[in-house]
Amino acid sequence: MKEVRVHARAGQGAITTAGVLGSAIFKSGRYSYAFPYFGAARMGAPMNAFLRYDEKQIRLRCQVYEPDYVLIVDKTLTYGYDCFAGLKSDGVVVIDDDKENLSNYKLPQSSQKLFAVPASRIAQEVIGRPLGNTVILGAFAAATGDVELEHLLEAVAERFSAKGVVAEKNQEAVKKGFDYIKQNY
């Protein structure tokens, strides 16, 4: 079983992120369970979304305390919050930031990896809004190899199917995030 923890602020699409990733995992024939935890239950308040996936059905319902993967949608959450808490020794972090700023982040263990991808900036260029979730998902696929790009693109198309061109733009965002990691790391 793999466990993912998403750090975001309410309104930044963390549930969508976990849900789209869970959907992509489902398309590969695996089981997944995605769920949110709202802190102050207000827009802008720090919140988490979680994802578990496995070859068999997920029964465990608690939050994720020892993630294999951490996705940080808003880098300001690393100030004052321990976003890396419990990260497994071979854990991987994907954060919305420029690669030049990698040295700003100190992972607890040298065996852990952090990938910075300027997700909001790419999203602003591609989608026209600074919502970097789908860029981060593309980066996650490239960084971990745990989900197929093709399944992510299908999941994004389904999630935004009612919004026409938004689906295509988000697919483009996924690809840009994927390519950024492949080209820069």
Partner: protein
């Protein structure tokens, strides 16, 4: 068809497939996505039903009472304070023997304000004459709603059903489910045919005065029906299980309890986590199991007794309390065992109130502590610092 879907949207889809004629609800988190989903299906012309917007949950319950009395299949959903505001009408619906189906997205009760999951809301109406089902996962939530309509509308029963699904843990979670096709539900669930209904051509009065010379009989009649409902719920669940090709619904589900010395009894989504812990402890040779109560009203005494009678230790882990007394399910199980003779050591544990996360470590703590007798319920995971003031 297998799909990856949010709990609330799955319930909206399955309710639409049950073809209710009247839906009324007032939005309250974490229930809102369900009725939003239904309102959208109606607005998009995919569901032929009347969605009646109201100003409060009291009115929502009154509308489905009226709709059901007029002989129409009805649906509502609520949570927490919303269910409490409905409470007066909840008793009326049961007393009038109306087969309304209600989803309670289980959530804590104020004060303090808390939008997160526990079972205190629906426990407050456990004595109202409604049948209560509780779902472990989104799949079971889907199945239980279909079963609910068939049981509720069975002419031998004619009682309302509340389906409890854990707020956020299931309502806002995405999971892989097998969504039954429309044809299957149509085949399973016939058109609602009320025993009596409001009809201008054949006027009747419903829910009128029950003076001391008749009132107690109305309560006895519901109690008698509750007992009859046990076998109807089993039969309907079996019929549905056969149709979908997997076992679902029913009264209780025992997991690895056959030779278990220690059994935790629980309802709802926490059972999934307990099953994982049971597997882990079994690997180490510990004889442990979990008993899930699916049907809480009528309380399935025989099934619970059979499941627990050979255990040495029983722990009842509840997300609800009865302040000043023992917790609801613990009290019922202790009374049941006393009456029927088996004497496992039974202890009560309060867990996960107001959405406090329930970790496998906490469940292991219950398995470890359940052989130590305590007169009062033990609260798991208390922060002692907060209690000092």
């Amino acid at each position: 068809m297998k799909k990856f879907v949010e709990g609330s949207h799955a319930i909206a889809e399955v309710i639409a497939k049950c073809r209710p004629g009247v839906i009324s609800a007032y939005p309250i988190t974490p229930q809102t996505h369900i009725v939003e989903g239904l309102a959208k299906l109606i607005a998009d012309g995919e569901l032929e039903a009347e969605f009646i917007n109201v100003e409060s949950e009291h009115s929502a319950a009154s509308v489905v009472l009226g709709g059901s009395a007029a002989g129409v299949r009805t649906y509502t959903a609520t949570s927490s304070q919303g269910l409490l505001l409905m409470a007066e009408v909840i008793f009326n619906i049961a007393g009038m023997r109306l087969p309304v189906v209600l989803t309670c997205a289980n959530r804590a009760v104020s004060a303090p304000i808390n939008i997160w999951n526990d079972h205190q809301d629906s426990m407050t109406v456990r004595d109202s004459g409604w049948i209560h089902f509780y779902a472990e996962n989104i799949q079971e939530a889907i199945d239980l709603h279909i079963i609910a309509y068939k049981v509720a509308e069975d002419k031998r029963i004619s009682l309302p059903v509340l389906v409890g699904i854990d707020g956020y843990v299931l309502t806002h979670a995405f999971e892989v489910v097998d969504m039954p096709e429309q044809e299957l539900i149509d085949k399973f669930l016939p058109k609602f045919e009320p025993i009596v209904h409001l009809d201008p051509d054949n006027p009747v009065s419903m829910g009128l005065l029950g003076a001391p010379d008749v009132y107690i009989e109305t309560r006895y009649a519901i109690e008698k029906t509750m007992q009859d409902a046990l076998s109807v719920i089993e039969d309907v669940s079996e019929e549905y299980s056969n149709l979908v090709g997997r076992k679902t619904g029913g009264l209780v589900e025992g997991y690895r309890i056959e030779d278990a010395e220690k059994i935790i009894v629980a309802i709802g989504s926490i059972v999934g986590s307990i099953k994982d812990v049971v597997d882990e402890l079994r690997e180490k040779g510990e004889k442990v199991g979990v008993l899930k109560i699916v049907t809480y009203r009528p309380f399935p005494k025989e099934a619970v007794y059979e499941a627990l009678k050979n255990a040495k230790y029983v722990a009842v882990a509840e997300k609800a309390v009865s302040l000043g007394a023992d917790s609801p399910i613990f009290s019922e199980i202790a009374a049941l065992m006393y009456k029927k003779g088996a004497r496992p050591l039974i202890n009560s544990f309060t867990i996960g109130l107001g959405g406090r996360d329930i970790s496998p470590a906490q469940i292991k703590q219950i398995f470890a502590d359940m052989d130590k007798d305590e007169p009062n319920t033990r609260y798991i995971g208390l922060n002692e610092k907060l209690l000092e003031a």
